[in-house]
Amino acid sequence: MNDIAPYIILSALLFAIGMVGFLSRRNLIVIFLSTEIMFQGVVLNLVAMGRMHGHVNGQIFALFLLSIAAVEAGLALGLVVLLYRRKGTLDAEHWSSMWG
Amino acid sequence: MVELLKDQFWFSALMTVGIVVALLTAQAYSIYFERKISAWIQDRIGPNRVGPLGLLQPLADGGKFLLKEDIIPANVDKPLFLLAPMIAFGVAMIGFAVLPWGGNVDLDADGAVDVAAQVADPGIGLLYILGIGSLSVYGVVLGGWANNNKYAFFAAMRSTAQMLSYEIPMGMAIVVVVITAGTLRLEDIVLSQIGDGHVWNIVLHPFAFFILLVTLFAETNRTPFDLAEAEQELVGGYHTEYGALKFGMFFLGEYAHMITGSGFIVVLFLGGWHLPGVPGLQPGDVSVGAMLLKITVMAGKIAAFMFLFMWVRWTLPRFRFDQLMRLSWQGLLPISMALAGYATVLVYLGKSTSIPWALGGNIVLLALTLVISQLRQTPVTGRQTNMPAISLTSPAKAR
């Protein structure tokens, strides 16, 4: 018998940690890394939930999530390189000109 | 004792110890043979002073690595500097866990199969090797980064790009085998190449075999793809600042990686422990003697590939970086994708083990490649044509 609660608490923990990082860090790359941590939490959650219901749909969602993460990493890192070329820094604060 | 070994867990434990010991010896002697083969190719004799025929040379080398002063240069990123060789060595060592060495074994000769001569036999053995292989890039990258040295850094950058580029055709070439065999278990892949109407995958898909071989050269950072340690351009590459045992770990890790890669390609394309027609090497032979024979055959095939690695190293010059990238993205990738597509077509037609169909497709693909490469005359030099025109007059004259 396997218990789902620890998995869900763990995935929530990862999600929360990723959120804290996303909110508080200023380096663009670390911000994206934080979103990847949130992805990890979600993957874990999906798999656990799928297992609870006894089918692999959770795993398939997680696989799609992986492809989304790959897309996100590719585009985001491309953008980061562009931004870095433009301003010479990775500080997110430098891209706050749209604050209104 | 035999009763204990009939449990797969204890048998695997024994296998692990045996493989690790054999592997460390094999790595040390790979270095010896690397030096010997380079010497033979260059009409020299090679190491012959330590022991008879120089056979104790690995011990001397090991002693040298151990006893040299272990320097950590100032301004390196110390934790990463220490971690990088460990990653390179450790990752190279754990890939062996899933290689099938000797098929099933009947230890007490009662006709029933007791254990498999394999450390672990997961259903995803092939993916496991791929995953481990994809981790191995960190040793090089971190080594280059932690050095705090521009040359090493260049090596790290090159290596990252190279590994990422060559992993894709490698995966595609493996997909060809996976589709043909219909499984990810390495033992099943070996078994799928044995028996009536089944041949080694190299006969069916020589092109995929060749692509996998080329990408293995790239993944193990061996000449002609050793741009990460191009000593003429980059001093020492990613291990410029390393010395003593830390360098030794990089060095041994490279050979361990080569041995894993050889074992991998042997399992995928050359039938693992199997030799057609030889008694004792068929799936039905499960005695202990047959297991030892199978392990010997497997090791022999791996040794042959190691020889190929070394032979190529002392023959070919290094690729230039743009050639390297072009080879991967414009050469190997389309061909391997076409091969994977063709393999699915074969499975759909139910001809996946038919030699004329598979070979015919390979030949057609080769002809197509030749025609296309003839039609597309890209420049062979690395001259960049889209650069702004420079004045050929010297600045002094122009003034």
Binding site: - | I37, W40, I41, D43, T315, L316, Q374, Q377, V380, R383
Partner: protein, 190 residues
């Protein structure tokens, strides 16, 4: 500076289809190296086997020649020290105790680690006192050991004189009698 007319723009070679695959060339190269793998090696096992050596013009360790009476032949003229491109010769000359010359070297040091073994000292010597010998296995544990002084250089002479006799032993003519046959040095008249 490079002039325009000095620049040659080379056309890129057109590769055939098989050449673009690299494979035939690679196989060709591998065949070559495989052939070499079975060729006879020409290696000499050095300490046991030694190469046949040319005695006359081999440029190895220096020696200071002795004359017939066993004295150092050098006259402390500083020609070699001047000629030496590596500045590895150091001479302290003093008044000679013998009649046949005015000066002799009180001290004569050659730093064998700085020496580039060019043979200029040999060329420069007016009395052929300094010569290079066929001896090449000079080793030492310290840098000081590798600075050969007068005694050591004379010892080298004693060791090698049998192998390579002194080229021009007619030192006796030097004292001013005018008998200078065979002396090839440029700075003859001192």
């Amino acid at each position: 500076m490079i002039d325009d007319q000095d620049i040659i723009i080379v056309d890129e070679p057109e590769l055939t289809a098989t050449e673009r695959l690299y494979l035939p060339q690679i196989i060709d190269g591998m065949r070559t190296t495989l052939r070499h793998m079975f060729k006879k090696t020409i290696t000499l096992q050095y300490p046991e086997q030694k190469r046949e050596q040319r005695i006359e013009n081999y440029r190895g360790v220096h020696r200071l020649n002795r004359d017939e009476e066993g004295r150092v032949a050098c006259v402390a003229c500083f020609m070699c020290q001047t000629a030496c491109p590596a500045h590895c010769i150091h001479i302290v000359g003093t008044e000679s105790p013998w009649d046949d010359r005015e000066k002799y070297p009180l001290q004569f040091d050659i730093d064998e680690l700085r020496c580039i073994y060019c043979g200029m000292c040999e060329e420069a010597c007016p009395v052929d006192a300094i010569e290079l010998t066929p001896e090449y296995d000079l080793v030492g544990r310290t840098r000081d050991e590798m600075i050969l002084d007068k005694e050591k250089l004379l010892e080298v002479f004693d060791r090698t004189v049998a192998l390579k006799p002194r080229k021009n032993p007619k030192i006796s003519g030097y004292a001013g009698t005018g008998d200078r046959d065979g002396c090839q040095s440029a700075g003859g008249g001192q």
